[in-house]
């Protein structure tokens, strides 16, 4: 049986529902970190929204519609979502309900007899087959999903007798029929702590999310294009994203995920933190229990967001130019964006010999590996030419 899905990103599905019931059955306030819904944030190499769509695809659901607020229509994640074969519809905040209803109608025309309506505000690993069986057995037009902590913002709509897909009408909490109780993994992503918990659960394989990268050591995932200094230390469980650079003396530990195109400068310690894409962490910082996005940072323990304009502490690795650079600036831009000292050192190193100069008095020792190495008392003295080879 074909099952469609409508993902709603932004606002609440039932705007006409009174506030108390809306909060109960469709949490009205979507969590928004750094000015975007939390579902648009990257987690272990992929936006959470793509993870949700991937789960729906694995469950055999199609077609999938994404109804998004106009404010997020130009967001990179929404623009990139087409590769998942998702039909994207944008609407102003007050028209989300009518647009959702239109999408359900299109679902019905494409042959779907049942559809899921989900608020893309939580990460839920839904057992679609089980919920579908429950929905059909109960004979209801709408079945809401909930878990032990409350409603999940998921509804299954579709009536076998009428064959219509309709959004739930205005109703009181008392009139809500039997709800499907979800027993698998669910994370509401309503607080920054929830986002951290999801990252840690994924790294510890407590949920179905798998990091995008190769597991170089047990519990340590590194994307192929990441650059790690030999003296950088990555302790499991951790994730290093694509094109991320870890400099010397960096320590990454305790469930930290560093997304793509980040740079962690020398001596920085990152512990139990999420570093979102294109973020620069300055030298010798101690980042713990935080979510960092470019120059903004959420301290999970204090529940406070701090904006730091000082580029030497935290900032962005990809400054967006206010205007297009002039032709004369184009050639100097790569040199100026990096440390001039390091650039000069790298340039001169090409002209210097790979081995250090040896003074005439210096003596090099080499031993045949097949022979047993001499003890300390047997080491040759500098003047003993018979022991010198080469």
């Amino acid at each position: 049986m074909q099952v469609g899905a409508v993902l709603v990103l932004g606002g609440c599905i039932g705007n006409d529902i009174c506030e108390s019931s809306a909060r109960k059955y469709f949490p009205e306030a979507m969590a928004s970190f750094f000015g975007a819904p939390v579902a648009m944030l990257d987690l272990l190499g992929e936006p959470i929204l793509c993870r949700i769509i991937e789960n729906l695809r694995k469950s055999g659901i199609g077609p999938i519609f994404l109804i998004t607020d106009d404010a997020f229509a130009n967001h990179a994640v929404v623009r990139d979502i087409s590769r998942w074969h998702v039909h994207v519809r944008t609407a102003p905040g007050e028209a989300l309900r009518t647009t959702t209803q239109a999408a359900l109608k299109t679902c019905r025309e494409s042959g779907a007899r049942t559809a899921l309506v989900l608020q893309a505000a939580a990460y839920v690993e839904l057992e679609v087959a089980e919920m579908l069986w429950f929905h059909r057995a109960s004979g209801q037009a709408v079945t809401f999903a909930r878990d032990n902590s409350g409603p999940l913002g998921i509804a299954m709509v579709g009536n076998e007798s009428t064959g219509q897909l309709m959004l739930p009408e205005r109703r009181t909490p008392q009139s809500i029929p039997v709800e499907y109780v979800h027993r698998q993994y669910a994370n509401r992503l309503s607080t920054p702590g929830d986002l951290r918990r999801l990252a840690q659960d994924a790294l510890l394989q407590r949920c179905g999310i798998r990091p995008n990268g190769s597991e170089v050591r047990p519990g340590v995932w590194v994307a192929p294009s990441a650059r790690l200094h030999p003296r950088a230390r990555v302790v499991n469980p951790s994730y290093i994203g694509a094109h991320t650079r870890l400099r010397s003396g960096v320590v990454i530990t305790r469930g930290t995920n560093i997304e793509h195109h980040c740079e962690v400068d020398r001596g920085c310690v990152v512990e139990n933190a999420t570093i979102l894409p294109h973020t620069y962490l300055g030298s010798s910082l101690d980042i713990a229990h935080s979510i960092v996005n470019r120059n903004a940072m959420i301290d999970v323990r204090r529940a406070v967001q701090v904006e730091i304009s000082d580029r030497s502490l935290i900032g962005s690795t990809s400054p967006l130019p206010r205007c297009a650079p002039r032709p004369s600036e184009v050639r100097s831009l790569p040199f100026m964006s990096h440390s001039p000292r390091r650039t000069l050192r790298d340039a001169f190193s090409a002209f210097l010999p790979k081995t250090p100069f040896l003074s005439p008095a210096s003596v090099r020792f080499s031993y045949n590996t097949s022979e047993a190495k001499p003890g300390l008392g047997e080491l040759p003295r500098a003047g003993d030419s018979s022991a010198v080879r080469g």
Partner: protein, 144 residues
């Protein structure tokens, strides 16, 4: 007579950045010339702290410690506390929830330590409880 210099409380501005630090540094010159300066920085209104502000704090701490003084922070906002924590500078300072607590802490030997009586107070209390005549006559030896 209190042998120590008075406690100076300095209230910082909302933005402790490169622009504000220069003016604040000038205002601190007089305090830094005192002998054994005891200074409290009131952070209640500081919401923005950058590397120049951190540098200023460390310079002040260095100058004050060199003169055998103390510098304490009070009423640190969550934003400033976060910056102090990530830069690992917070561990160099004693941080108190209020200015009153910070000022009071200068009169105690250890923070949160109970106030122990001075030796001469103990002697005075002992002399009040026992009359000198008893000490002179001596009491009966106690069996142990």
């Amino acid at each position: 007579m209190n042998p120590y210099s008075p406690v100076v409380v300095k209230t910082l501005t909302a933005r402790l950045d490169r622009n504000q630090v220069a003016a604040f540094r000038r205002g601190m010159q007089e305090v830094l010339r005192m002998d054994q300066p005891r200074v409290v920085f009131d952070f209640c209104s500081v919401t923005h702290l950058d590397s120049a502000g951190i540098d200023f704090l460390l310079n002040c701490l260095s100058a004050i410690v060199r003169r055998d003084g103390e510098l304490k922070l009070a009423a640190v906002s969550p934003q400033a506390a976060t910056v102090l924590e990530i830069t690992r500078v917070g561990r160099f300072f004693e941080i108190f929830p209020t200015v009153e607590d910070a000022v009071r802490s200068f009169d105690t030997f250890l923070p949160n330590a109970p106030s122990f009586p001075e030796p001469w107070d103990l002697f005075r209390a002992a002399s009040d409880n026992h009359s000198p005549s008893e000490d002179l006559t001596g009491s009966a030896p106690q069996q142990i």
